[in-house]
């Protein structure tokens, strides 16, 4: 079973996150997005991204290599969101992160833009597969700040890549063998900014996927997250 939950959080008046999944036998598609900007249009961007990418993947996943199809899907959706943002002043400047996962033929393929995350649980614990496209990550990479300083940086939310903000979007692709991966977690930064990998491990190891998603969001809110929080938890291939 898949655990999937999107919560408005403690203080926001709108939920700008979007999350959906689709499973067909062994094959599964899981997508999460965190919208931003525009005149209250963040949720339009994130919803468009999730729906469009999901529908593209569903109809094309068997017609080529999954990493190529996932890239096409994101490129395609980026153009649509960008066009919508130009066509409608209320939506001007809107954008969204996206982290889209396909589980197929014993492999996990991820297309990723922005600062939502894909984490995996294996015998070593919970670790992050994706790398944020954020100001703070770049400061860490350049050696300007330490990982610890990054945790308390006030501009943690500033992202350097997003879907829908220009006609070209650079996409990171990850391809992993499912061997040894027990669970996969997709989540938005409303969760990861407040809940550590160790805390996720403690919860995921003792609960089923639905319970896990509920408890993770509860913990994020208790720890003071002011953002929307979303999470998808699904099965890997076992250890």
């Amino acid at each position: 079973m898949v655990g999937i939950l999107s919560d408005i959080g403690n203080v926001r008046s709108k939920n700008e996150d979007a999350a959906e999944f689709y499973e067909d036998g062994e094959m599964g598609i899981y997508i999460i997005a965190d919208g931003m900007g525009g005149y209250n249009s963040g949720e339009i961007a994130s919803t468009m991204a999730v729906k469009e990418v999901l529908s593209y993947l569903k109809s094309n996943i068997n017609s080529g290599k999954p990493e190529v199809i996932i890239k096409e899907a994101i490129i395609n959706s980026n153009l649509n969101i960008y066009k919508a943002s130009l066509a409608n002043t209320e939506q001007s400047g809107m954008g969204t992160t996206i982290t889209a996962c396909i589980k197929i033929n014993g492999e996990l393929v991820v297309g990723h833009v922005g600062d939502s995350s894909c984490l995996v649980l294996n015998s070593l614990g919970v670790s992050k597969l994706t790398k944020d496209h954020s100001l703070v990550q770049q400061l860490v990479d350049s050696g300007s700040i330490t990982e610890d300083e990054a945790l308390t940086h006030p501009k943690k939310n500033i992202i350097t890549r997003a879907l829908g903000t220009s006609d070209f979007v650079e996409i990171d692709l990850y391809k992993e063998s499912m061997v040894g991966i027990k669970k996969i977690i997709l989540c938005t930064d409303g969760l990861t900014n407040f809940v550590s990998n160790d805390e996720i491990y403690d919860i995921i190891i003792c609960n089923n996927n639905e319970e896990t998603s509920r408890k993770l969001i509860q913990l994020g809110k208790e720890k003071g997250s002011r953002d929307n929080l979303s999470v998808i938890v699904f099965e890997g291939e076992g250890i």
Binding site: V11, R12, S13, K14, E16, D17, D34, G35, M36, G37, Y39, N40, G42, G64, K65, V68, K71, E72, I75, L79, G95, T97, G114, D115, L135, V136, Q138, L139, S142, G143, S144, I145, E149, A150, T152, H153, P154, K155, K156, N157, I158, I159, T160, A162, T165, D167, F168, E170, T188, D189, G190, R226, D227, N228
Partner: protein
Amino acid sequence: MIGTLLGNRYELLEKIGEGGMAVVYKAKCHLLDRYVAVKILKEQYSSDSDFVEKFKNEATAAASLSHNNIVNIYDVGSENNINYIVMEYVNGKTLKKIITENTRLSYPKTINIAIQIASGLECAHKNNLIHRDIKPHNILVTEDGVAKVADFGIAKVANSMTITNSGQIIGSAHYFSPEQAKGGFVDCTTDIYSLGIVMYEMVTGKVPYDADSAVSVAIKHIQEAVVPPKQIIWDVPDGLNKLILKAIEKEPIKRYQSAKEMLVDLNRIKENANFEIKLSNVEDDYTKVMAPVVVSTKKDNTDEEMDDKNTDEEKGMKNSTKVILIALALVLMIVVGSFAGRLAAMIKNKNDTSSEVVVKNDKTIAVPELLGKPSAEAQKTVENLGLKFIVSDHGFNDQPLGTITDSNLKAGAMVSKGTQIRVSISDGKEVSTVRDLTSYPESTAVDAIKADGFAVGKRTTDYSEDILQGSVISQSPANGTPYEKGGKIDIVISQGPKIVTVLVPDLTGKTVDEATAILKDKGLKLGASVILETGNEKDDGKILKQNKAPQTQVNKGSAIDVTYYKFSKALS
């Protein structure tokens, strides 16, 4: 919004500006019969009550300030979910516009404006208010030349907002302090840093750290050594040069510790442009490098002191491998200077306010042609003539790396021994990394190539099983290659999968199993098979007809339907 009456007294007349968070209107206050500026918080932020409260608190704190160099806040209010601040209406231009219009500002003008901004900051800091976003766009200058700092407290509110906001693309970081970029502790020296950057821009016409992306700019604030204003505009008075450098020290502890402290020095250099600004006592390689080229008007500047500094510098050079190009050139100059021997004495004897070392009536040396020469060769030539070689600037250029692209003195000009020749050196062509273009539609890929500063090279087409028709299959140079700007990138565009045709084989008389094998061999497959019963036992299992005639052309992968016999005793 225009025509709305707020608080039963402020009538909105026209929109005069818009920022990320608010829209500013010119308005008429009917109670006091004067023009005011009304800043209205954008609707999307009004829904966050926590945020609105912070916005009001900060505005109220800023309203307690009253100073001629601060855009005064008169009133804070809200009605019908409209949250607004009423401010002094300033009829003038932003400092940004003034700098742009004038390319750069004169030193007296720069000092004058800086004194006014520092006075405004002093008042705010005394009231424990840090601005956090000092930039020329936030400084208004009236027609009478009065500078006023706007938007106190707003940056703090904006910061608190972005923490809760789910995401935001970073704005300009040109005036960011290193501690802001690092997310560290912010105090009044942060405003001093930003004011230093603004002064740098006023004097030179450009900001010290610039790059393609705001993130790279932020990183430069943290890591990159600054090119002193004097290196860009050589006649910047020494005092002003040092004052700016002190304000923009990377470590807050080395900067002016208060706006008042900075004001004292600003007023001194206003009287005497070459007043010697004392830099921080904290050990600092940079100031050591500069010290020997400073021409001091102080009488106690002895030869011994100069020699000591030179020796220190030589040691420093041996020990440190990380010397930036400009610093290196300066050090070289100092070393040469010490060989020349008389340099120190010449400097000492000069009371001139200029830092140029010129001994009058002694112009016996002709400046050699340097343009287009490699810098090492040029330096040797210049030094052999008894002149000094200084690299004052460097930048990307079509000429090869290290070539001299400009010089302050023309070839053939007559100069005296010891004259400084200041040159610009080419960094070679600007190089950028080629990005991945595969799978992007042709038009998007072309836009990206142009946006990255490259040119579109050959466009060819090919078939592809994987890549959609009209999208990029491959590129040259490949993803990740460092490539010079303006270079051509070739792309191959997909025409979709290649369609291969094959000739249909004759299947009559074959069994279904045989037919399946033959079709597979040809790249075809068996489609529907229809059974026809027969009484003739020897025809059992044999194909009698096929839906595509033998030798016709069909697409590879097509299915061929067949009809075959099945023996039936009843018919025999």
